[in-house]
Amino acid sequence: MEPGAEQRLEEVALRPLTHTSRGWYLWLGLLLLLTGGGFWAYSTQLQRGLAATGMRDTVVWGLYISNFVFFSGVSMAGTFVSAILRITGAEWRRPLTRVAELTTVSALLMTALMPAVDMGRPDRLLNLLKYGRLESPLIWDILVIPTYLTASAIYLYLFLIPDAAVLRDRLKGKASWLRQRLYSMVAVGWHGRPEQRRRLEIGGGVMMLLVIPIGVATHSVVSWIFGMTYRAGWNSTIFAPYFAVGALYSGMAMLITIMIVFRRVYHLEEYFTEKHFRYLSYMLVAFGVIYLYFSIAEYLTVSYKLEGGEKLLLTELFFGRYSYLVWPGFLLGQILPLLVALRWARALPILFTLTILVNAGMWIKRYIIVVPTLANPLMPYEWGVYTPTWVELAITAASFGGFALIITLFAKLFPIISVWEMTEGAEIAAAKEEPGSAAARPATLAAQSGGHGND
C-alpha cells in the first residue's frame, strides 16, 4: 500500500459506523415498516390460523415455502465466494468476503423463519425436537439449516475478530459506552499476536472447509422435501444438484447486487473495483450456464416421455395457466443475464438491473416449482387454485425487509470490508514486490488485484 492508503482504508471502511446520513434513517424506517407489517400480518395469521392464507387443500404450500427455497438459495453466496476463494488463495477476494458471509447469515435467518411461519401449529414447534424422526426429509432440513446457520455465523464471526479489535482501539472514548463494550466483547482480547493469528488461521481454516459441504447439504435437503415425493415436477433424481446450482446462481447475483449498493452508498469505489465485478460476473455466467444445462436436462427428459401427470404439468407451465410466469422468468431471469459476459453489460447500472432480474427470475422459478406441481391434480379433479392473501404478501415483503435490515444494521456496527484482511493482503503484496522496503509498497489497488499482480 502506498503510504496513507491504510489510513484511508480505515477511514472509508469505518466512516459509516460513526456517521449516519438522513437517507440511512429513511431506509431504516422503510425496512422497519416492512418487517413491522410482517409481524402484524403474522399476528393476524396466529389468530385466524392458516385460513388467513390463500393455501387450501390442493395447493397446500404457497409463498412461504417459495420464499424458504429462495432464501436458502441466496445463502449460498457467502459459502461459495468466501470459502472457495479463501481456500484457493484468490487474493482479489479480500474486500468482498465480509459482504458475502453477511449475505449468507442474513439469508439463512430468513430461510429458517419461513417454515416456522408456514406451520399449522406453531405452538408445537418443540415436537420437532421431542419426536423428530430421521426418515422425514423435513427433519433433514431441521438438522442441516441450523447447522449451516451456526457454521456460517461462526465463520463470519472469526474473521470479524481482528476488525472488532481495530474498532475497540480506534473508537475508544469516541463511541457510546454500549458500543465500546460490544467491540471489546466481540474482539475477545485480540491483539494480533502471532499465536492469536495462528489460532485464527486454524479456526478459520477448519470453518471454511466445513461450510462448503454443509452448504451443499443444505441445498440438497431443501430440494429433497420435494424430490422425495411422487409428484410430477418434483419426482426427479437431479433435484439436489439442480437446486445447488440454482442457489449458486441466485446467491452470486444477490452478492453482486448488494456490493453495487454498498459501493455506491458507502463510497467503496476504490475497493469494489471493475475487476471484482468482472470476476464475479464471469462466475455468475458460469453458474448461469450450468443452471441452464440442468434446466434443459430436467425438462427435456420429461417432455420427451410425456408421462401422464408430467404432460399435464408441462402443458400448463409452458402453454397454459402458468406460461405468463414461466416465460418471463426463463427469458429475463435465465437467458438475458448471461449478457454480463460482455463488457458493456457490466456497466454498473446494467449489471445491477441484470442481477436483480436473476433473482426475480429465481424467485419465480421457486414459485413455479412449488405451486403448479401441487395444483396439478392427482385424481381427476380440477386444477387447484392459489391466490396469496395480503397476509402472505405482507410476510413475504417482511422477509425481504428483514433480510435487508440485518445487513443494514450489521454494516452500521461493523466495517463491511474486512479491513485487516486487506491490510494483510497489502503486506503480502509488499513483501513479494520488494522485500524489506516499506516505502516502495505497490499502489493501493494491489491489495485487491492480488499479490501476484496478474489477473
Binding site: 385466524r48 390460523g49 392458516l50 385460513a51 392464507t53 393455501m55 387450501r56 387443500d57 390442493t58 397446500v60 404450500w61 417454515p115 408456514d118 406451520m119 399449522g120 401449529r121 408445537r124 414447534l125 415436537n127 420437532l128 425436537l129 421431542k130 419426536y131 423428530g132 424422526r133 430421521l134 426418515e135 422425514s136 426429509p137 423435513l138 427433519i139 431441521i142 438438522l143 441450523p146 447447522t147 422435501i225 420435494f226 422425495m228 415425493t229 411422487y230 409428484r231 401422464g308 401427470g309 404432460k311 399435464l312 401441487l374 396439478n376 391434480p377 392427482l378 385424481m379 381427476p380 379433479y381
Partner: protein
C-alpha cells in the same frame, strides 16, 4: 381399553425416550435421532411381543366394487358413502374424507370411483411426517395423532392419492366434543392446524362393524376385508377375499408407485382390468384416434359431396 393399545405403545416408547434422554443428557441436535431408534426398537419388540398375537392380528383391507357403484345418481342422492362418513366423524365443513370421482372410461362412457384412504402398506405420508404424527397401526390402518401433528402438510404433499385434508380454520365440533376423550382412532374434537383423513373407521372395525361408508352404501359396493382371515363383507354377503379379488380382476390405484394400497377396485363398466384407472389424470383418450377417424370420415364425405 384395548382400543387405545396402539396409541399406548407410542406413549411407552416416548416414556422410554424421555428416561434415556435424561440419563444421557443428549444434545438437542441429536434428539431427533433417538425417537427414531426407539420407535424402531419399540416396533420390533411389539411385533414379537410374546403374546403370540401376531399371527391372529387382523390386516384390514377394503374392496370397492365399481360394477355396483353408481355414484348414487340413480338414487338421485348425494353419494351416501360420503354422507355416512360425514355423519360418523362429524367431518368438518368443506372436507370429504371419502370422495367420489366421475371417471371417463374407454369408449366415452363414465363410471364412478369412490376413493377412501388407500391405507398403503408402504405409505409415503408416514415416511415423510417429521414428528411421527402419522403412523400405521399393526392392523394396517394409517392414523393421525392430532395431538402431535404440527401442521407442516408434508404428508399432504406426499400422498399420491390426494387423500388428506387440512383444518385451515377452526373446524366445527359436535356439542360436547371438548369433553370427548380423544383418540387417533376416533379424532374428536377436530383441531385447527392439523391434518385429517379417512381412517377406515378404526373405531368401528375393531368392534366388528363395517366402516360407515360401507354401511351407508345403498348398492353394497364397499367391502371391508381382513387379509389374515381372508374374508370380506359388505354387510350383506361374505366372500373369500383372495378368491373374490382373483375372480374379478381386481386392481389397485397407481400400483406402479409401490405404495401397495390396501384398497382394491373391481372393474366394471368396461375399464381395462388391472389398468391403473387414472394413470393419465384424465380420460383415457382413445378418443383422440376417434377424432382423427371422424375427421377423416368428414373429409371423405366432403369429398364425396364434392364429387357429385
Amino acid at each position: 381399553m384395548d382400543r387405545q393399545e396402539n396409541y399406548r405403545k407410542w406413549q411407552v416408547s416416548r416414556r422410554r425416550l424421555l428416561k434415556l434422554a435424561g440419563v444421557a443428557g443428549v444434545a438437542a441436535v441429536a434428539a431427533p435421532l433417538l425417537p427414531t431408534l426407539l420407535t424402531k426398537i419399540g416396533g420390533a419388540s411389539a411385533e414379537s411381543d410374546g403374546t403370540g398375537k401376531k399371527a391372529s392380528r387382523r390386516q384390514w383391507a377394503m374392496v370397492i366394487d365399481l360394477r355396483k357403484c353408481e355414484g348414487c345418481v340413480t338414487k338421485d342422492q348425494a353419494p351416501q358413502c360420503i354422507e355416512g362418513c360425514n355423519k360418523e366423524h362429524f367431518v368438518p365443513q368443506g372436507q370429504e374424507w371419502i370422495r367420489v370421482f366421475e371417471m371417463e372410461g374407454a369408449g366415452g362412457h363414465s363410471y364412478f370411483l369412490p376413493r377412501p384412504c388407500m391405507q398403503c402398506e408402504n405409505p409415503p405420508c408416514v415416511k415423510v411426517c417429521p414428528v411421527g404424527a402419522t403412523y400405521r397401526t399393526q392392523e394396517g390402518i394409517v392414523l393421525v395423532n392430532h395431538e402431535r401433528c404440527i401442521g407442516c402438510r408434508m404428508c399432504m404433499a406426499a400422498c399420491p392419492y390426494g387423500v388428506r385434508v387440512f383444518n385451515w380454520d377452526q373446524p366445527e365440533n359436535p356439542p360436547g366434543a371438548t369433553f370427548a376423550s380423544y383418540s387417533p382412532e376416533f379424532p374428536i374434537p377436530h383441531r385447527r392446524g392439523t391434518v385429517e383423513k379417512c381412517m377406515l373407521c378404526a373405531h368401528r372395525v375393531k368392534d366388528g362393524k363395517i366402516p360407515a361408508c360401507a354401511e351407508a352404501c345403498p348398492m353394497y359396493a364397499i367391502y371391508l376385508g381382513d387379509l389374515t382371515e381372508d374374508v370380506a363383507t359388505n354387510g350383506k354377503e361374505v366372500v373369500k377375499l383372495s378368491r373374490f379379488l382373483a375372480d374379478t380382476n381386481a386392481f389397485r390405484l397407481k400400483e406402479e408407485l409401490g405404495t401397495r394400497p390396501r384398497v382394491w377396485y373391481i372393474p366394471g363398466h368396461g375399464q381395462e382390468s388391472g389398468h391403473t384407472v387414472d394413470a393419465e389424470h384424465q380420460p383415457i383418450k382413445t378418443a383422440r384416434s376417434w377424432q382423427e377417424m371422424e375427421a377423416t370420415d368428414k373429409k371423405a364425405s366432403a369429398e364425396d359431396h364434392g364429387g357429385h
